[in-house]
Amino acid sequence: MRITSKKRILSIFIILVILFLIGPLFIVMGISFNSGTIMAFPPKGFSFYWYRKILESNSMKSAFKMSFITATISAFIATIIGFLTAYGMDRHRFKGKSIIETLFSAPMMLPHMITGVSLLTLSQQFRLIGTIFPILIGHVLISFPFCTRIISSSLPAVDPSYEEAAKISGATTFQTLTQITIPLLKPAIISSALFSFVISFTDTSVALFLTTESINTIPVLLFQYLYSGADPGIAAISVLFIIMAVVIVYTLSRLIKLELAI
């Protein structure tokens, strides 16, 4: 194909957009190595000071523990629910399907703040504030539609005749599910788990309303940190997030065709 001038302009535009997207991330990484206290870029002096400072911080450690536990449990639940829902949607037809789909997708589509606010009022009533439950429920709500979508798009690749063959050979539905369907869906299931883990780990808008001093998540901690005046310490934590994002995206790209996830 000849490289026309139109194609060249388009390519330049794409590169600019990519820079626009990852520029802020690179700047943040640069700031994290700053030896001074101001957010200067290029950094004046190179130092791991900020990394040491945040790694030693107690609030950071407990927030990390909280975020990690919440994300793991939430990913577990969301993947299971996503699988069941995707399977149910695909294998069975019934009226009112689109209404149910809309209902399930709603917490994800509407601003997360609304879910956070509503769960806050509910948990205040039932004295659940300060426990992990409202955060868990909120995170599952906003991530399981993603899982449903990912698994739904992989389901067509699982030929129903495999399941029929298993049933004819005498397997119960449970056996069919666990020994045929699920192993065939392994990439999609692992991807859903990763996706929902990240959504929970990085969620700010829901957790912001549901955390207290005793229970804090890292995004909320970052929010408070930035709110009270930013120093490069926030950049150091950010770098950890960026690295995590890159690793997860790489893993995802190995598991599924990236286009299917959305």
Partner: protein
């Protein structure tokens, strides 16, 4: 005899079908109940000591709609969201088109991966990146001053454009994916047929590609539009107090003044606004689709 056995099995089948949706339904119903609870609280009275008194009143809503500052916020929030959505669409469309039509799968995977990465980074971090870029001490000002283009730093942070830029950045990935998905589904033979019939590439695009990509445009923009209407993180950190969205107003009431009834009321006004605007949007799209026939 036979009919009762078969009806027993069909009942079991229906029960079985429902079983798959049960977990999701439980969570969704929980969510709906929490919404009802929040709405309930929005009808209570605010008390600085106890946060709210369980007595019913609609004064929160009346206070909101009689306050011209609040009512103007509705329009400024919609205005902000529309600008961001349109600009995101303009920037994302070429990228999505390119991704869908580029021949090398390696490039496609690389660009998709690059687009996906920021999606997984906490929004606060991305906002912080923009603060570092746009602030008086930030990289743009540093470079411009180093090149001696300006003497004093340009004030490009803590205003509306900064918020718009930040919001576009977080929305781009989603929009590009939407466009990409829909253009990928367009059979290239349509475009080839148009070109071999003598149409210029512009006409091909305008009459073939663009109309067929409208589903992707619609789904991407409606997701982004809804999310932007509830945005409060970017206005807080990049707006410097000049950009007050409904989400920000509600957040302040929950976290600062602890006025839960008012905060809940604002949240529901926001929710109602989002749902009605999305509904109107879907009707408009349907109208245009019918017009095309």
């Amino acid at each position: 005899m036979r009919s009762s056995i078969s009806s027993f099995f069909s009942k079991k089948k229906i029960l079985f079908k429902i079983l798959f949706f049960l977990p999701a339904l439980i969570f969704s119903i929980f969510w709906v109940i929490s919404l009802i609870y929040a709405f309930n609280i929005s009808l209570f009275i605010y008390s600085p000591l106890k946060m709210f008194i369980p007595k019913y009143t609609i004064e929160n809503y009346i206070n909101f709609f009689t306050n011209s500052f609040f009512v103007k916020r509705i329009f400024s929030t919609i205005y902000l969201s529309m600008i961001v959505t349109v600009l995101t669409l303009i920037v994302a469309y070429p990228v999505g088109y390119y991704l869908a039509r580029v021949s090398s799968p390696v490039i496609r995977t690389i660009i998709l991966a690059i687009l996906l990465c920021p999606f997984f980074v906490v929004m606060v971090v991305r906002v912080y990146g923009w603060i570092a870029i746009l602030s008086d001490n930030g990289i743009i000002n540093n470079i411009l001053m180093w090149l001696h283009f300006i003497d004093k730093p340009l004030r490009i942070l803590y205003n509306l454009p900064a918020v718009i830029i930040g919001l576009i950045e977080v929305n781009l990935s989603i929009m590009v994916f939407s466009i990409y998905t829909s253009i990928v589904g367009i059979d290239t033979s349509f475009e080839e047929a148009a070109i071999t019939s003598g149409a210029s590439s512009f006409r091909t695009f305008y009459h073939i590609t663009l109309p067929l990509s409208i589903p992707g445009i619609y789904s991407g923009t409606s997701i982004i539009f809804g999310t932007n209407l509830g945005a409060f993180l970017h206005p807080i950190f990049l707006g410097g107090g000049y950009v007050q969205t409904l989400g920000l107003l509600a957040y302040k009431r929950f976290e600062l003044t602890l006025n839960w009834p008012m905060g809940a009321a604002i949240s529901f006004i926001m929710l109602f606004m989002i749902l009605s605007l999305l509904y109107v949007y879907s009707k408009i799209i349907r109208y245009f689709k019918i017009m095309r026939r």
